[in-house]
Amino acid sequence: MTAPAIELKGISKAFGPVQANKDISIRVMSGTIHGIIGENGAGKSTLMSILYGFYKADAGEIFISGNKTEIPDSQAAIAAGIGMVFQHFKLVENFTVLENIILGAEDGGLLKPSLSKARKTLLDLEKEYDLKVNPDAVIEEIGVGMQQRVEILKALYRQANILILDEPTGVLTPAEADQLFRILGRLKEEGKTIILITHKLREIMDITDTVSVMRRGEMTATVKTAETSPEELAELMVGRKVLLRVDKKPATPGDVVLDVQNLKVVDEQGVERVKGINLQVRAGEIVGIAGVAGNGQSELLEVLGGYADATGTVTLNGTPIDLTGKHSDGRSRRDRGIAHVPEDRQREGLIMDFAAWENTAFGYHRDEAYTSGLLSNNAAIKADTAEKMERFDVRPPHPHLAAKNFSGGNQQKIVLAREIERNPDLLLIGQPTRGVDIGAIEFIHQQIVALRDQGKAILLVSVELEEILGLADRVAVMFDGQIMGERQTDATDEKELGLLMAGITDTDKPHDFAEIEANLAHAHGDASKGA
């Protein structure tokens, strides 16, 4: 038997007091696709970043093709034939594709020869692996799918034999993801070894040969994909049996609470991000907005939450709300009964350095209950926080602890408690479970459903199709700033929504990838023209 392409022995890594990897050992056989699956925070990315020399392990050994190899930095990893495509691409936005590809792998001190050599090599790679890119396109003007291909080409240009991909499908439409998997299959045929990090069970089952499961910084199992099932993997990930579905009764929608008509949003660069959408949310229903990140969902939430200007009409319970001017801010929206759990809880929903009690008042800090005269009533805020923490099972239940010291799930509970305990008419909620562990996901979903059952209107934005299908009653799909279609969630599936997400509305006809790709490229071209 030949030596494995990669063997890690006893890898440990701590960030301050947090143990991200604990004594991890793993073997990845040459010419296979090896999946690493685990929840958010299980330590997958840390482990792979160590293999790529991005972080330094506290302990442990790395063997490449049977040889013990020190990887103190990325340069050493590249020399050992390892390439990595990070979840957040490491590209220089205002450089061309070609410049990004040669960066760090130039030939000699002058640019011109390096660039012309790279152009030739790129043509070869393109033929070999069917990876088409325009070498002179500037990164910020091409779509994410294309950017990802640049990342893969960067690795291949450096003659990587081992390719690590960290959550590569998070930013892709289902069709683009399928195309990526075809490319990975091709790479495998050429003898490359691929490590795929993901938290999506379906991807693991579809494409990997072997799968390793990580939980809480430890490697819990490595199994052949053919010999396992999604249920078994889920249990290994979480450590107990999990419900893969949200338990809820059918909705009984009432009156229209939120009515959006011809809403348009133009961003600071003058690019139209939302292109005249119409949408209604009724009392007692959850409406999901599906779509690949960056197609106008965030802007929709921002406008409804009061922190971006827009044109069009939005009414709440029949009364219009201001979309510009001084009554169009977060505070005015709260006064009108709109609560908002923002997409980015660490940068918007919370101030990480503030104590939990300050975060509980945040946004509502001028409420009568929280003030006495000119001053804040800190005692009242703290008492209220303690109460909310108990009701939402926030752990540890210490109002004085800074937000950054809570786990993702508990941070989200603090935000959720603040927003929904105020009995809003409409709840806006973006990416409710991003970076949240499965235990907390169940709790958060239950809270949202309970709020719906109290007759509140809920607008849910999520890039996780599974979450939308499980939680929402109705789904609207956004693509390129428009709503491509609305469906009842019990009368649609991932495939249909996937086509809508790529901007294709006649979902009952067959479509090939080239058509989808052309559509996406066209939409992106539109967006970048204004910039």
């Binding site: 790529y52 972080y55 490491k90 450089f95 960066l103 760090g104 640019l111």
Partner: protein, 324 residues
């Protein structure tokens, strides 16, 4: 009224001389900020270099030794800035402020200790100064109409550092946009993670950039004390480092634009020295204090938006921390 007098050859001549330290400092800032390190300590570095170049030139009688000492002194301060903002990932603005004060205090302290002349160096004479270089045929060409005087007065007759500064413009452009080093430097100011994952040291690149910045500031300071003037006096940079910074923003971090921007500021300083010309041209007297304040006011006006949208290097001012 004589508007043309505003562009009198003698005014333009001193424009070139006054623009030189601004240009060198502006290019210094360009290297640093293109690499993602903001530097409001240009002022302090220039001042430090001005003192040490004047002091060493005065003691050794060699302006070249003075220049080297100035560069070394300025680079030492760059080292502190690098230590604070690259190694220890501190606040780059605060580090810059500290460096400015350090230079302001130390120069006087050391000057007093070495020379006992109330915080100044002795006046430089002979080989202690950079002398003007008369370009070939300057005198002979003077008689050629129009072009002749321009060649003889405006182009010829500056000290070598003026020509060094002017050559530094294409030099910077070439280095930045035509070499591997330039590609990496620009990349590290835009997205250091891209450089890091490509196997290039972010810390190393940034230190080199900050080092070049120190070197250019050193030349700028040496020029102030040994070319433009003959010796060091307390606080002699008089805000030039900040004006250079404003010019850098005005130039949107591009070398050729930096030249035009610093020439403009140099012109303002030159014209402020000649109230007689302004009065002759405009027909009324302008308060001397207004003329003094003019470069600073113009800086504010420019910063207020006549530059259009100036987009600084994206990673500028942010210490590079590998994300968790």
């Amino acid at each position: 009224m004589d508007f043309l007098a505003l562009f009198d050859l003698s005014v333009l001549d001193s424009t070139v001389r006054l623009a030189t330290p601004l240009l060198l400092a502006c290019l210094a800032g360009l290297f640093s900020e293109r690499a993602g390190i903001f530097d409001i300590g240009l002022e302090g570095k220039m001042l430090f270099a001005a003192f040490f170049s004047a002091a060493v030139a005065a003691m050794s009688g060699s302006v070249w030794l003075g220049l080297l000492a100035g560069i070394a002194a300025s680079m030492a301060l760059s080292g502190i800035h690098g230590l604070a903002s690259i190694t220890f990932r501190g606040n780059q603005l605060i580090s810059g402020v500290a460096i400015n004060f350090l230079a302001a205090g130390l120069t006087v302290l050391i000057a007093q200790d070495w020379f006992q002349q109330g915080g100044r160096t002795p006046s430089l004479i002979g080989g202690g100064r950079f002398e003007p270089i008369i370009l070939p045929f300057a005198e002979a060409a003077r008689s050629v109409p129009f072009i002749g005087p321009i060649y003889a007065e405006l182009i010829s007759g500056h000290s070598i550092l003026v020509y060094v500064a002017l050559l530094a413009v294409p030099g910077t452009w070439w280095l930045l946009f035509r070499t591997r080093f330039g590609l990496r430097l620009r990349a590290v100011g835009e997205n250091p993670a891209a450089v890091d994952t490509a196997g290039v040291s972010v810390v190393g690149l940034r230190f080199v950039a900050v080092g070049i910045c120190g070197m250019l500031c050193g030349i700028a300071g040496a020029y102030l004390a040994t070319g433009l003037q003959a010796g060091f006096v307390k606080d002699m940079t008089a805000g030039r480092g900040f004006i250079a910074l404003a010019a850098l923003i005005f130039a949107k971090w591009r070398p050729w634009h930096a030249l035009w921007a610093t020439l403009l500021f140099g012109y303002l300083q030159a014209i402020a020295l000649r109230p007689d010309i302004i009065e002759g041209a405009l027909g009324f007297r302008v308060q001397v204090q207004l003329l003094d304040a003019l470069p600073y006011i113009l800086t504010v006006v420019i910063l207020a938006g006549f530059v259009g949208k100036a987009i600084p290097p994206r990673a500028g001012g942010e210490p590079y921390v590998k994300e968790r």
